[in-house]
Amino acid sequence: MSKAEILIIDDEPQIRKLLEINLESNGYKVLQAATAKEGVIMAANHPPELILLDIGLPDKSGHEVLKELRTWFNKAIIILSVQSSETDIVIALDNGATDYLTKPFRTGELLARIRSCIRRNNTNEKNSLLTCGNLQIDLIARTAKRNNEHLKLTATEYNLLSLFAKNEGRVLTHQYLLREIWGVGYQTETQYLRVFIGTLRKKIEDNPNQPKHIVTESGVGYRFN
């Protein structure tokens, strides 16, 4: 398989250099753009496997670039933002960002996110049997197992778990989860979500107080691993 191409759109040369060295030494081919305009043109001329997009660009807001790219680009876009900007992150995810990283981030975290995004680009979601660590979810039989033991889940718990499993490694916003599980009109009813996350964790986690599968992303949503 040829090297996966990653386009970096960030105005900071230092960050670009760091990402370039890092990604190239991990077997990716790196393309770089310092402005929104340049980035969009590069992506259009030669669509990459994944785009790393900085939210704070000089010529245009990253949110605008994201919306523009999403009209035709359907592969992964990871947003880079600064800390304490949950609102920015939620907006970006709702506008179709695949994932996000807050600066400063750890290299290990970056590579894990990239791997997970690229893997999702290439799976055709036809698999009806999903495995996540010690969990197994059978989408056709609508059943789930933990350590090969059958889990007793309510319909809502199962729906939540299977939605998570289909989006393994990806952060899902509160709004998205509420809309998908409870339907339009429930987007602000986060208390339901809290309750079901709590009961689901008790059933699937080894230690519900230190969850490994359903991890809270403060102010944003949940990530399933």
């Binding site: 339901y192 809290r194 230190q210």
Partner: protein
């Protein structure tokens, strides 16, 4: 006015000219108590009142003798001078106070800069020093030392990042830009996740939290409240001896969410307790590192939720922080089959 009425009835005993002195006294007292305009007004009114009610012929503005005319004029002028002089004295005092305030701010600013430059420069120096050593004497360094330098850079940059976060949070608070993003929070889960995030920095402390299963959901800004608990627990880890125990309790008391964080350290000296939440304040002789911002940010974030934080020393030793935040609650989590 009241004095004028009193004088009106006693004018027979003291004479109308003495009344003028009494009224003048009242105007002087007013000058001490009130601002320039009410005082000038009272000087003017009292002159009129004196003329109308006391100078014969009374109940007219007519003045009988040239002597009384002079008295009336003098009265008015003295009352006005009185008012203006008092006002001027007060102006001078105000200026002095402002100056003092300014000096205090400058002093605070200097302490701020000192503690801050130390807190920011130490990690920066470490990073620059370690990078130079790695660049220039790479061949002379043993692999162990190279790894050691890299981990020093790592520690320094985490420390630098923490201080930057602190400063950003402080400026969010001070600029009034902090907008709470209230949402339903599972407080047990929130506290466990703070503990999980702190576990890498915590080597030798025992942090105990028994989840309270009867808690409702609270409407809070999760990110902000996480920071509050993080700062207080982090503080306890930093400033209590190794192997100290930190106990967290969460409860629900009449629409308040109440969390106490108690440690088995040495507690705070009684005399310092009121300063602990002040910006940039650090206990005298406390160990190096730390900006004196953590607890002050914690208090600011709690107050942004209209809550309170109280610090006490435990009878059996150690400090106890109690946080009380009024919050909307939902008991939906205690219903079966929602």
């Amino acid at each position: 006015m009241l004095f004028a009425v009193l004088c009106f009835f006693s004018v027979d005993f003291i004479g109308y000219r003495a009344v003028a002195l009494i009224l003048l006294l009242v105007v002087s007292v007013n000058a001490i108590l009130f601002d320039i305009f009410p005082v000038l007004l009272s000087a003017f009114l009292s002159a009129i009142i004196w003329n109308f009610f006391f100078i014969p012929p009374i109940l007219t503005f007519h003045i009988g003798t040239p002597e009384d005319g002079l008295m009336f004029l003098m009265y008015f002028v003295i009352a006005s001078i009185n008012a203006v002089l008092t006002y001027k004295i007060r102006e001078v005092e105000r200026k002095e106070r402002d100056e003092e305030e300014k000096l205090k701010t400058i002093k605070l600013y200097n302490t701020l800069l000192n503690s801050l430059s130390h807190e920011l420069r130490t990690p920066v120096s470490t990073i620059i020093g370690a990078v130079d050593t790695l660049k220039e004497s790479k061949d002379k360094l043993s692999p162990t030392n190279q790894t050691e330098l890299l981990s020093q850079i790592d520690i320094a940059s985490i420390r630098l990042n923490r201080q930057v976060e602190n400063l950003l949070n402080m400026s969010r608070l001070e600029s009034g830009m902090l907008k709470l993003n209230l949402d339903w929070c599972d407080l047990n889960e929130l506290i466990f996740s703070v503990m999980q995030k702190l576990s890498p920095t915590n080597g030798k402390h025992k942090i105990v939290f028994n989840a309270n299963e009867n808690l409702p959901l609270f409407k809070l800004d999760r990110g902000v409240i996480e920071q509050v608990f993080h700062n207080i627990i982090y503080n306890a880890i930093q400033y209590t001896p190794d192997n100290s125990k930190i106990v967290i309790c969460a409860s629900h008391q009449s629409d308040n969410c109440v969390v106490s964080i108690s440690d088995s350290g040495n507690g705070f000296p009684e005399t310092e307790m009121q300063n602990v939440f002040d910006k940039f304040y650090r206990l005298p002789k406390s160990k190096t590192g730390g900006s004196g911002l953590g607890l002050s940010i914690a208090r600011g974030f709690i107050e942004a939720h209209n809550g309170k934080i109280k610090l006490e020393n435990n009878k059996e030793g150690g400090a106890n922080f109690t946080i009380t935040i009024p919050a909307e609650t939902s008991f939906i989590n205690n219903l079966k089959n929602v």
